[in-house]
Amino acid sequence: MQEKIIKYIEELSSEEIDESIEATEDLLGSGILDSLGMMKLIAFLEEEFCCKVLPEEMVIENFMTVLHITDYLETKLVEKQ
């Protein structure tokens, strides 16, 4: 899951960043993703992992870094089962 997400973000922001991104890097805050990039990432996650990200879940606790995203998605996918 983590690799897929990192790969997608790297594709999205290939012109902004030269090096590969770490799972602990702040995505929106550090400018790796802009607002639209974050919305695209969320749309990708919904499609790829067949889940619905609720608007109230789009907060720093769930989306700050790739690590936060994977934790959030894992909990969400467990809840779905």
Partner: protein, 383 residues
């Protein structure tokens, strides 16, 4: 693929048109000239149930839940039936950028306190995001909300706020944690009369002159914790939440206005005779009518597609940006064509043709300029 509307939706659209034609102003020349807001029209729309279309029926006077497609169609009908573009524009601003976020992110107490008063037309509210130094780059906003005992202290200024000068409360975005950038924005419901909260008088504008627009200033303004909307840091999500629906609905009214404009143009160019025949017989004029029809139909296609995507709970980032760009620019172009078709008659204020053009220009600026929509489109498709 099915492009048809249900019988019920068609009847609802007709009802809204009939309502607008019989209950709203027959002329807006004086209101436009004097920048006068019509509270009477606002209330009439509320009583008819239009303001309640963006929230569950529990908070409005709707008899049954209205689906997104019907709500959008109703706003198109209002744009067609109401001669004033300002009224639907202002209503949409409140409906989708104040009511919908409260309905979604609000506590039960907030929903019960604010929504019935808004949908009934008793209260009016504004959505305050833009600042003097933060327009297109809105996330660079400088208004701050500093945590204190029992609430927050707001400081800063909001700019170009629709309904701001007459609002009973404002939904205000402010920075609560500057260290985390876009994640550090929160939203507050700031009520009129709160110490430290002032509004400017209505500003004179090129168009949409029936809508009061102005600045909001916060000077050491204490807002109780219970008036924070959503969690701390939910500001970014709240800005995105109803953006696509807002775009659909506000531009639905422009589509309705374009339909009215086209019908008016056709009637006029058939009746007006020069060189012994109807001016509509001259190909230069009929070409313009064809272009207006094409703009109307392409606008409708985009509008209905986005409305359909939203009705299916699907994202519509790309389509929403294309809709905003296409419809707002089409409305400007068709408004100029409508004036050309009417000749000097169209240029005179008293005939209420030229006002559409002045009103239309706001549409290529508010809620993200056309340049910004082009940026979004090109970015989404891979640039």
């Amino acid at each position: 693929m099915d492009f048809s509307w249900t019988q019920k939706q068609i009847e609802f659209k007709k009802e809204v048109i009939d309502f607008a034609k019989t209950n709203l102003g027959t002329t807006y020349i004086e209101e436009d000239y004097n920048c006068k807001f019509s509270k009477k029209d606002w209330k009439a729309c509320a009583d008819f149930g239009l303001l309640g279309l963006s929230v569950p029926k529990k908070y409005s006077n709707q008899k049954e839940e209205v689906d997104v497609l019907s709500a959008i169609l109703a706003m198109e009908a209002l744009g067609y039936g109401c001669k004033d573009n300002g009224l639907p524009f202002a209503m949409n601003a409140q409906m989708w950028t104040v009511q919908t976020p409260i309905a979604h992110f609000g506590t039960e107490a907030q929903k019960d306190k604010f929504l019935p008063k808004l949908t009934s037309g008793e209260w009016i509210a504004s959505h305050a995001l833009t600042e003097p130094e933060a327009g297109s780059d809105v996330f660079s906003m400088q208004t701050t909300a500093t945590k204190t005992d029992g609430g927050y202290i707001l400081n800063g200024k909001k700019h170009l706020i629709t309904l701001g000068p007459i609002c009973d409360f404002a939904l205000v975005f402010a920075v609560t944690n500057p260290k985390v950038g876009k994640w550090g924005l929160s939203v507050f419901l700031v009520e009129k009369g709160t110490e430290g909260f002032t509004v400017s008088p209505n500003k004179a504008k090129m168009g949409l002159r029936t809508v009061p627009i102005g600045d909001l200033t916060f000077t050491d303004c204490f807002v109780k914790e219970e008036n924070r909307l959503g969690a701390e840091g939910a500001g970014w999500s709240i800005t995105n939440h109803s953006l696509e629906l807002d775009r659909c609905s506000v531009h639905a009214s422009q589509v309705g206005a374009m339909e009215r404009q086209l019908e008016q143009s056709i009637t006029y160019v058939k009746k007006r005779k020069q060189f012994g025949k109807s001016v509509g017989r001259f190909q230069s004029v009929s070409n313009r009518i064809a272009d207006m029809k094409l703009r109307l139909e392409t606008s409708k296609l985009l509008l209905y597609k986005v409305a359909w995507l939203k009705s299916q709970g699907k994202p519509a980032m790309l389509e929403g940006a294309m809709l905003k760009l296409q419809i707002s620019e089409n409305f400007v172009n068709s408004s100029i064509d409508a004036i050309r078709n009417h000749g000097g008659y169209g240029y005179l204020v008293e005939n209420e043709v030229e006002r559409d053009l002045r009103d239309a220009v706001g549409g290529v600026i508010y809620a993200g300029t056309s340049d910004i929509q082009r940026n979004i489109i090109s970015q989404i498709i891979g640039l």
